[in-house]
């Protein structure tokens, strides 16, 4: 490579690393705001902003979904495995909403610590498989738990 071209290449590399560094610092500074949702543990630790809307993410706890028979009101608990937060919502739930599913609710905490949501989004995972495979996976998991309990 001729010296002129080498110099051009070094200049480009310098520009690119400077832009990269700038982008990195910018994202570092904004990283709190780039988070799409708070986890239930963060809410319990008081990290969520009080008195203003934020998004809450977690798994719907099995057996906690209560639907009001006379309206669209629904109540359920969300968990991230460590902390639980009760969510209240009035409206139509997305197709993927079910117990054990990851969801993201948008709303705010009321005085009793209940999260009143005005929007519920379902988050799906990156796994794709036919229902039969999912079924047999679940069975294998149950069997594993049973054998674990059987051998103390």
């Amino acid at each position: 490579m001729s010296p002129v071209r080498k110099k051009r290449l070094y200049t480009l590399m310098l520009i690119l690393s400077a832009v990269g560094l700038a982008a990195f610092l910018l994202l570092q500074a904004f990283s709190e705001n780039m988070m799409f949702y708070f986890s239930t543990s963060e809410v319990q630790q008081g990290k969520a902003p009080p008195g203003r809307d934020f998004r809450l993410g977690g798994l719907v706890v099995n057996g906690t979904v209560q639907r009001d028979p006379n309206s669209l009101k629904v109540r359920f608990d969300l968990t991230d495995g460590a902390a639980k937060v009760t969510v209240e919502y009035r409206g139509i739930l997305p197709d993927l909403f079910r117990e054990g599913q990851g969801i993201i609710a948008n709303g705010r905490l009321n005085a009793e610590g209940i999260f009143v949501a005005h929007e519920v989004l379902a988050k799906h995972d990156e796994n794709y498989m036919p229902p039969e495979v999912a079924h047999s996976l679940k069975q294998a998991e149950n069997n594993a738990i049973k054998t674990q309990q059987a051998t103390p």
Binding site: R5, L12, G20, D95, I104, K123, H124, Y128, M129, A134
Partner: protein
Amino acid sequence: MTEKRTMSPLLKWFYRLGAPVWFYPFAGRLLPWLGALFLLLLLPGLYLGLWHAPADYQQGDSFRIMYVHVPAAWLSMFVYFAMAVSAVVALVWRLRMAEIMILSSAPIGAGFALIALVTGALWGKPMWGAWWVWDARLTSELILLFIYLGIIALYNAIEDRRSAGRAMSLLTLVGVVNLPIIHYSVVWWNTLHQGATVSKFDTPSIHIDMLIPLLLMAAAFKVFYGWTLLLKMRANLLEQDLHNGWVKERIYASKTAPKNSTGRVADKGHQYD
């Protein structure tokens, strides 16, 4: 300099690619093969994806939009990466063909980004419950679309072709910082968009019958990019070099030379310009 006499075959080929008079017919010979290969990958990909693949355990048949959404999103990033490599070549070697490549790729990449965003919205409404959310993945992909449009606009805003090409190459190179942000957005931040399925280090978390059509479609999209890129590069070369020797030679050499209303070969008036 003795450098030129002992040129390696690879370097010679590289310099040949940069010469329109050699590139134009070379690309022309490649075109039908790429078109055929595209159909050969697309048709089985569509059949396997839309009919043969089993429905998903959670999303049912809705997940099938993945076969358009995911390849389009991958390609929107791949095209940009190819453009960035080309931008380095354009800026360091001052190769005009590299600028033509960026100029021709930008609308194709913008198209892929738009398809990814639109199909993503169509997928998001039934599954997530929202057409659009401002999470890191969706936002950074939208920024990619804007960068593509910015590159096209910048080139067309500057009158002089050489400086337009240089400015466009520099913008392309700077915009490349967005690519890792798009890819890692689902890792670095909490997002509504799920994480990577195929490009994980462990085995992909997708059933093999669903994976094969996805890979076929991704390969088809990639060949489609190559095909449309060559078409667009040939068109851009002709447009820019309309009054250059090699285009005129091609016109006069062909028996079906375009005639104007007086029956003369079009453009002959410029012969002595």
